[in-house]
Symmetry: C2
Subunit: 341 residues, 2 copies
Amino acid sequence: MKLILIGFGVVGQGFAQILRDKAAELLREENFSAQIIGVATASKGALYHAAGLELQSLLEAAQAGSFASYPEQDGLIRGLEVDEMIAAGDADALVEMSPTNLETAQPALDFCRRALDAGLHLVLANKGPVALDYAGLKSKARAKGLQMRYEATVMAGTPTIQLAVDALAGCQILSARGILNGTTNYILTRMEAGLSYDEALSEAQALGYAESDPSGDVEGWDAAGKVLILANALFGRSLALDDLDVSGITEITAADIAEARAAGQRYKLIASARPDGGAVKATRLPLDEPLAGVGGSTNAISLKTDLMGDITLIGAGAGPLETGCAILSDLLAIQRMPSAT
Amino acid sequence: MKLILIGFGVVGQGFAQILRDKAAELLREENFSAQIIGVATASKGALYHAAGLELQSLLEAAQAGSFASYPEQDGLIRGLEVDEMIAAGDADALVEMSPTNLETAQPALDFCRRALDAGLHLVLANKGPVALDYAGLKSKARAKGLQMRYEATVMAGTPTIQLAVDALAGCQILSARGILNGTTNYILTRMEAGLSYDEALSEAQALGYAESDPSGDVEGWDAAGKVLILANALFGRSLALDDLDVSGITEITAADIAEARAAGQRYKLIASARPDGGAVKATRLPLDEPLAGVGGSTNAISLKTDLMGDITLIGAGAGPLETGCAILSDLLAIQRMPSAT
């Protein structure tokens, strides 16, 4: 399978490491083999080779900060635009891993549309295009007999989407609620251990869980983007951020945490999606709910179903290898059922 | 998809109810339609109609205790043997739902082999054939380009196998441990609430969780059968019951439960599978482990992976509709990828 990658940050590098380290295992156990033939980035440059880029050199160049140091090679093209990579006609799938933009989803959204038009399967770690134009992309994919997959957009490699969409296909999902942002869950967990909000946030930043501008996480927008994706994937509902009731954890104080604890409860930032809408809200849960027991940066989702009661999935919500694994898992699913949508 | 069912107890009836009640939804959303053309049972008789049996009549006859009351119809054949149903050549898949026998897996195992030889996909709720001859059945299926699926054998409809085998295909699973028997988990949960073992067992029997002879559950054999299946599915290891270290909960006293609680722990009957073996043992878990929080008749499994840390799935472990859903989910997976194995 020949791949074009957009974006090559920690997730892209994690994915390339997996392809490098698991090549033999994937060929043996899954009859799967993939070449990265194009990589386009905003800050490191772009590389294209129709026969496949060399993964170790690609990773070293990325770690050095620029593809300029990628070794010269017959057939290598530097600086090619994404549109030209797609138009070249060599690729089987586009993997969109550039940073999420929940306002316009651009330029990623246009790249995704062009890739589908050109007959490429689509795999996304970037939440923007799935959150803002799920229906449009899905119908383009369906019309072409292609797949659009986006396991990495919710709970990283923990297979939320495959669980809800494929494995539970015979069931109706009535609602979903989860802990879909690891940074805020880490902060709340540390506040339970006695830290103030500011101390817990600083610690999360020092550990690389929270960005220097943490607003996307702590105000609930990252989780809200995931709610938009779930609303589409589970209920076929195209919602906008404005349709959601979103608040974060910035107003939660040590006193709130203590009060909840005294009542046998625990604060969690709960993202929920229902057929008629969604929300992201700090919520007090009884300690015996499965979601209440999910600590640290771990994520979780509970799906309420018509025939099988509640099903809860708990796992990593971030991480380069975890997210890289989700992309691999989507590519394996495409190989298993190339024309399903 | 035309189906032959072996066994028509609560699981078979749950499955038939789902097909009856969801026919329109399945056709619309999954482009799926199935007819039950044959049903063979030990106690109710056997029915066969190449064009499909009528589900409501079938369910009513089953509830009346005998297929003798199923209405006469052109083309209906009563009392056909399973081998003749298979040989008739009308069916696409055999669904094995007769009671589990972990000693010989017969007669189900022979039916499964003949079905694969005759070109039928195989779906199992009966643990016996998967636990005792996974490798043989899988290789027969592979040679014929057919699927053998067995989601219902572990955690009923909670999609354990699809999670571990399909969704985590890119990951290596290093080990699995879980609460795979709902009856014993219910008894332990009630003992925590102050009941004696005998009181909790009587309550479980009154609620229909435990059978009048509860030894298969409380001595750990039901969970052990599931460990054999997981050892095959996750690690490609064919183990026998003798290879496992199996004990149940019959020795656990109210005093043990109290002692664990005083130490901040909780007893669970933990079934575990590793590449080099497996076990079923009552185990004291710290309260903050995800598995410790799983109460009542709920089941759960934690998978340790190479790239994604621990992934935990929690859901129903029994129930007619839950298990019927697993069978449907396997049939949907066969429709999505008919030639994958």
